[in-house]
């Protein structure tokens, strides 16, 4: 009875009794990348932006804006090239001529990876971080960084198709 009262009052006043404290606006999921020494491959990074938010794209229209960036910690086992971002969307700033290049929902970043000739068989983790700046309809948030690891498996021989 008391619990029901709390729910009723909370709903009546616009509070969400089950509201979860927000942590990250962006979440990242990655699959294992499997390659052989000297083979080039692409690590797939799946980025999910929380509903109703957008983040600035990698190409911004104004140098003061903070574009999404993917950085990796250099390591001696792999050669990592520049990340490849998908095409961005446009977000028009109401009442102005300006429009922003943004990402929202789910998108994929590709990171070209090549194992060095000296890299031995085994499992590796490449440290990576994404920095982003998000806005929704009500506010713009301070830039945030999300740290994650890219799992890479190096095999001695090419896998049979």
């Amino acid at each position: 009875m008391i619990f029901r009262s709390i729910i009723l009052v909370a709903c009546f006043t616009g509070m969400n009794p089950f509201q979860v404290k927000e942590k990250d606006i962006v979440s990242v999921s990655v699959n294992e990348t499997i390659l052989t020494p000297e083979e080039k491959s692409v690590a797939i990074i799946r980025v999910k932006v929380k509903a109703d938010y957008h983040i600035q794209a990698n190409n911004v229209t104004n140098e003061s804006l903070i574009p999404i960036s993917l950085e990796t910690t250099p390591n001696r086992f792999f050669l990592l090239n520049k990340p490849i971002f998908p095409p961005y969307k446009f977000f028009r700033l109401e009442g102005t001529e300006e429009r922003l290049n943004v990402f929202d929902s789910i998108f994929i970043i590709q990171l070209p990876v090549k194992a060095m000739s000296t890299t031995k068989e085994g499992q590796y983790l490449i440290k990576a971080r994404i920095r982003y700046q998000a806005c929704n309809a009500k506010t713009c948030l301070f830039p945030r960084t999300i740290n994650f690891e890219l799992p890479v498996i190096v095999k001695k021989h090419k896998l049979a198709d």
């Binding site: 009875m1 008391i2 009262s5 709390i6 009052v9 909370a10 009546f12 006043t13 616009g14 509070m15 509201q19 979860v20 404290k21 927000e22 600035q56 104004n62 003061s64 804006l65 903070i66 700033l93 109401e94 009442g95 102005t96 300006e98 922003l100 700046q133 806005c135 929704n136 309809a137 009500k138 506010t139 713009c140 948030l141 301070f142 830039p143």
Partner: protein
């Protein structure tokens, strides 16, 4: 039953101070504006107390905020229109360094002071209770505009609303005109 009614009453009081603000476009209206003393990018100290007797318009900003940047030229135009009528415009930059702010805002050539709230305490003090409760309090006020009257009370509070973004500050001008007409 008696216990349940008491509980409901207590909850209603608590929620009135939080949840209902979330539905109010203009929070904190009529409340005394939290006092502050901040340094500007040019090194001068500014306090709200020293501006008593003027209408003060405050815009909370950061260098990377797209909505703040879109408003910036219009903010200076507004100041030029109203400065001789006893209106002071202030930008309060939240949690950024003096060097970054000074460099980034050069392009706007603001004719009013840009103050530095480097630890975000002033932004936190101005965050209306119950609005965007899942965010850090110093994030809530970014890109918002306030007008404080000559007695130091908040008379206008416009939080960012991108779906009806008022880049040209039409609502703020309307409120300033209304407050000035009451002189």
């Amino acid at each position: 039953m008696k216990y349940s009614l008491s509980l409901i009453s207590i909850l209603l009081i608590i929620c009135a101070g939080t949840g209902l603000y979330a539905q109010n476009d203009l929070p904190m209206i009529g409340q005394p504006a939290p006092s502050f003393e901040l340094k500007s990018v040019d090194g001068n100290k500014y306090s709200l107390a020293q501006l008593k007797g003027k209408l003060v318009m405050i815009h909370f900003s950061t260098t990377w905020c797209p909505f703040c940047n879109a408003e910036a030229p219009n903010l200076d135009t507004l100041y030029q229109s109203y400065k001789d009528k006893g209106v002071q415009v202030l930008v309060i930059d939240v949690k950024e360094s003096k060097d970054l702010v000074s460099q980034s805002f050069k392009r706007f050539n603001f004719s009013f002071p840009v103050l530095l709230d480097e630890d975000g305490k002033v932004a936190t003090a101005y965050a209306p209770a119950g609005v965007l409760p899942d965010l850090a309090r110093d994030e809530v006020v970014l890109a918002s505009n306030l007008i404080i009257d000559r007695e130091g009370k908040i008379r206008f509070y416009s939080l960012l609303n991108t779906t009806s973004f008022d880049a040209k500050l039409v609502s703020a001008r309307k409120k300033l005109d209304e407050l000035l007409s009451k002189q």
